[in-house]
Symmetry: C2
């Protein structure tokens, strides 16, 4: 583990404990080894959104913590820059710093929140219970790019359309991606109306207009870009992770019937631009360093072209991160039933790694800016039950999934809440959780 | 002409003259009937960018003009809002106002710049020569969407790939569009390195990596969104133009060989995200009102679905706007030769109108924000010489275009400058010009 982002330091020590007691509970998603960033305010109030760090069941208010003088370990200019970067209503300024600055702030947070911290008393006054908070999108997203990195997803979807030739010839060479819609990104808790649009049945002469009948979720990992690169200056593989601020969860809701009719020849458009739900917390790559693993390549797969290759990253380019989808239907909610799991997969099965996405995205000179957002594409595993969308789980809508209460789903129905969760786990190490990306579908607008 | 945007008023009077004498010259692109908006500063200085209006060969500094008290015709709250909206380094705040506010500001500008204006003396001090100014992108672009509205372009491109079936079945029903890249938008004068990327020859087993060999331009009209709409609230056809602040020119540079290898199944990505060049001036829909004309539909074409239809707009939905592409090669520049025309087409030949793009884009609930940007797609006319790209003019790269000096082009070469121009013309009316969108290709970066 020779790359900066893979080095371990004392913030990763599994024995560390926090004076925030809830952070030490077994399986708590936000132990002191995690320290993810988000923006928050007390729910229902008039406060402005501000930067915070999740610790146990609390949020440390970063502006208040800086004001309390609780952070040490910076030289004077670095302290000023880090302090200023935490003052906004978004994390863009913090993202615009570099990996060394992010690491210094993480170290300061870790020391301040440890048992025995000299600043416990002041910092205790800077905590807000997560249960009392609401969140916003943590950054202004300049551009949102969605990739297609799961070869299992691409193969299963391809089989639905081309049984004999499921995977297109470019897949193992090009990290396929397309531009997404930034304006309709929302944070966990997002509710949105079922989209309306044009669809055409395969046997129909002409299209019809109405509510989407094949509404789906997509289980994705979201990637927030940090400092980025100038237009015309590609990012090399071994520099790529230094451009990544951290990861979150993303549900890239999809109107499959709209998509099928609109997507030739320029790709998905209205089928994806009505809502995309992200989790409020951004888990840094540094927090995920102990959970790195080798790239997935099968025997016979081509080696990546040199601009997408790195001997070091072949061994550490992937992240062992469990990804889970759950559903809570309206009936389940009304009966007080907990959400039910639909699938479990793992980000380590992604064919293309985070570094490869950054290197590919910029190889033509395209500039990434602080706060730009990448989606990994739907993360499906090699087994059918590991599929990250209902389209896959239901075999293209042909075999309904039966839920515990007897309800059936081929696609998402009005009133359904879809919840994404993620956790990095390794024996002897704490769980690094992501919180949730939950979104609920409301009925379509009544048509004129 | 019963829609607000099609009503004429005294700002359209062809007899109007300005005390800025250059605005009255025959064929001047910026007569007093035009009044396009941009952001500018004196070239080479340290000034910040600010809002301006082109008049003749001058720019009226809007902040200075407000400070000089030169605008009348507002009630007090509208005056405050309009004044505040002109104070930023971008036009987003002005765009966020509504069509009535834009119209009031246009009327005030028209009165202030007319011969006989009581404010001539103060305003003369607020002029900056265009030749002494430099420009920036006039708005922060939240999202950039590129459409595909020219049926002639779509048919010609389709023929290159599918001679027997050039136009896909969705074309006459769906205004095809996709998300573009906002970060690489640049203003006229943009210079960029030839992009590098993966390509695969049709007969090759594996892809290769290197500079793009089929670099092309695309002649497009750009559309800046004004007030926009809330997520989940579609914009109806007859409200759509009230959401549009104005039009400019757009060269959506394209790496055709990269595009061919990468675009299945999710559409163009790196082939379009290295540079897109726009003109600095935004011409308002109100300035273009006298140049409206009927939609283009051929006998047998389906009528648009109701959400894309409007009886009024059938007669006035299109804009009679000449579009021109010119080239100046390095050799031409060094020999002091003027740019040479490559093609001339007209925006009135677009199959889908501006209103239809806005209505379609929002029908699924997608929100448009002030400053969001739409591209029309390449505007090719019905005749081969009216093609808006070299890919079309050269028959897919097979028949080189011969330039006046004997040089030949199948695609754009290093050192070439491509210049887009536009003008609305009608007998008895002044010319409404757009200025230029010029961009120059530099050699690719040397590869490691």
């Amino acid at each position: 583990m020779s790359l900066p982002s893979i080095k371990l330091n004392d913030t990763h020590d599994p024995e560390l404990r926090s004076w925030v007691e809830s952070a030490n509970a077994d399986g708590c998603p936000f132990p002191i080894q995690n320290l993810p960033y988000g923006v928050f305010r007390r729910a229902g109030g008039e406060e402005r959104f501000r930067a915070g760090v999740a610790i146990g069941d609390q949020i440390l208010d970063l502006q208040a913590a800086w004001a309390a003088g609780a952070f040490s370990g910076f030289d004077e200019s670095a302290r000023k820059a880090a302090h200023a970067a935490c003052e906004g209503a978004t994390l863009n300024a913090l993202m615009a710093l570099d990996a060394a600055a992010w690491s210094a702030l993480r170290a300061a947070l870790s020391h301040a929140l440890r048992t025995g911290s000299a600043h416990q008393r002041e910092l205790a006054a800077c905590l807000v219970p997560q249960a009392a908070a609401e969140h916003a999108i943590p950054a202004h997203v300049g551009d949102y790019t969605d990739f297609y990195t799961s070869i299992h997803h691409a193969t299963t979807i391809g089989k639905l359309f081309r049984p004999d030739n499921p995977l297109l010839p470019n897949y193992k060479w090009v990290p396929i991606g397309y531009h997404g819609r930034a304006s309709s990104l929302g944070v966990s808790g997002q509710q949105f109306r079922r989209p309306v649009g044009q669809t055409k049945a395969p046997d129909a002469e002409t299209p019809t207009f109405g509510p989407c009948k094949r509404l789906d979720y997509e289980l994705e990992v979201g990637i927030f870009i940090g400092a980025g690169n100038a237009l015309g200056e590609p990012v090399a593989m071994d520099d790529a992770e230094g451009k990544v601020f951290g990861l979150c969860l993303l549900n890239d809701w999809s109107a499959r019937d709209v998509q099928a009719w609109e997507y030739q020849p320029l790709g998905p458009f209205l089928s994806k631009s009505f809502a995309s739900t992200i989790s409020p917390w951004i888990v840094t790559l540094e927090a995920l360093a102990p959970y790195r693993c080798a790239w997935t390549r099968a025997p016979g797969d081509p080696q990546p072209l040199p601009y997408l290759d790195s001997p070091t990253l072949r061994e550490t380019g992937a992240i062992d991160l469990q990804l889970e989808v759950l559903i809570q239907t309206r009936a389940m909610r009304e009966a007080g039933q907990a959400p039910q799991r639909l699938s479990l997969s793992n980000f380590r099965d992604s064919y293309w790694s985070v570094s490869q996405l950054v290197a590919h995205h910029t190889v033509n000179g395209c500039n990434l800016r602080p706060g730009d957002f990448l989606g990994s594409g739907t993360q499906s595993g090699p087994r059918p039950e590991e599929a990250g969308s209902l389209l896959e789980l239901s075999g293209g809508g042909k075999q309904a999934v039966t839920l515990a209460g007897g309800e059936k789903r081929t696609f998402v129905e009005d009133g359904d809440t879809i919840i994404l969760r993620a956790a990095a786990r390794r024996d002897g190490l704490p769980v690094i959780g992501f919180g949730e990306a939950a979104g609920t579908v409301l009925p379509a607008r009544s048509l004129p």
